[in-house]
Symmetry: C2
Subunit: 227 residues, 2 copies
């Protein structure tokens, strides 16, 4: 285990943006201290506010007292700091593509999927349509590979990891369907490959607890998304 106790991760257990950091620290066998942010909505901790004064968001990685924020940025930092089990492809074009699709997924796909989860009626249908369109683009990228990174999990797999696990829960709680295994066979295989991988399968939030918390959360969100 590298750099024991010098690495701390500030986040919440339910966040896919936090889990992606956990997966990579585990994949690279970097020991870290997990710090759970207790009340992200009403009472952010002093540590969070001082570590990320600009955005005040989780996750925050603390390494030897220095704070690194924004999850995709943290992934690159970890990959550069602990090069074992590399995440990023070696070829500059492949790296540019991995960064492009990870940004696309964070800006378009997860946004549409989360809006579909949190809304109803016409608004939900529109968001579902956008999310399905995103899945179509991603289906094309796999081209028969087990992972976006090729034979092993890479940067884009980690960035998209939420889609292999959170998506189903959001569909269930939000009473909607985005993922169609017939329409997106490569994505369907990838989802199974991802959640069955060693390290990933042992570092997923408990499904039952997610359903309970997200059911309550959706009731709060419905107010915002109905407007």
């Amino acid at each position: 285990m590298a750099k024991q106790k010098e690495v701390k991760l500030l986040g919440v257990w339910l966040s896919p943006f936090v889990c992606r950091i956990k997966w990579v620290l585990k994949l690279k066998q970097v020991d870290y201290e997990n710090i759970e942010e207790e009340d992200l909505f009403n009472n952010k901790s002093e540590l969070l506010l001082s570590s990320n004064p600009i955005h005040k968001k989780i996750p925050v990685l603390l390494h030897n007292g220095k704070a690194i924020v924004e999850s995709l940025n943290i992934l690159e930092y970890i990959d550069e700091t602990w090069p074992q089990s590399p995440l990023m492809p070696q070829d500059p074009y492949d790296r540019a593509m991995a960064r492009f699709w990870a940004k696309f997924a964070d800006e378009k796909f997860i946004t549409a999927t989360f809006e579909a989860f949190a809304s109803e009626g016409e608004k939900q249908n529109k968001a579902i349509g956008l999310a399905v369109e995103c899945l179509g683009f991603l289906e094309e990228q796999l081209q028969g590979k087990p992972f976006f990174g090729g034979e092993t999990i890479g940067y884009l797999d980690i960035a998209l990891g939420w889609a292999a696990y959170w998506l189903q829960v959001w569909e269930e709680v939000g009473s909607m369907e985005i993922m169609d295994p017939i329409k997106f066979p490569s994505i369907n295989k990838w989802m199974n490959n991802f959640v069955e991988s060693s390290v990933i399968k042992d570092n997923l939030p408990p499904r039952d607890k997610m359903v309970l918390v997200l059911t309550e959360y959706r009731k709060i969100l419905a107010g915002f998304y109905k407007v």
Copy 2:
């Protein structure tokens, strides 16, 4: 000159997102063919649509026929492909900070500044307030250095380059003031350092032409921003 005629840049002369790519290609002495997109608003070229089918936006870098899109992504690709005159810092933490501030500037600072340029009244005042707040954060980052990259121009200088030139023109055309040299002395020095640097000073769009085009453009935009 490296890789002659294998590199093409698709863009428009007025775009700061395109100019940042031009600066870096010039700094690294990579020869390239400039392709001006003729009618970005009403009639996007086939080359643009096929090179960036997802976002349909400039700039697009074409290298040996492969398309790389999104300007910050292109900067990293260029830096990895042509390592001479490196843009990115060597230390992973410094790299993470450069990426963080570049993203911050693209998502918050340029958005607020452009909205201030394009709007009026209360909306403009609110946008000016946001842009000034961004400048305050960036002022702190310079800490007496001539450039964000240290003694020479780096990734963050290039990403922020628009603020050293476009900002003044937007202020003039938009009849508003964001940059206060007394309040932001380090940024003020940096702006001068940047536009007076070799390569940069010879690769800025002509100011008079910018004012003319942007004055017309603002009239069109006013309709959107007033809503």
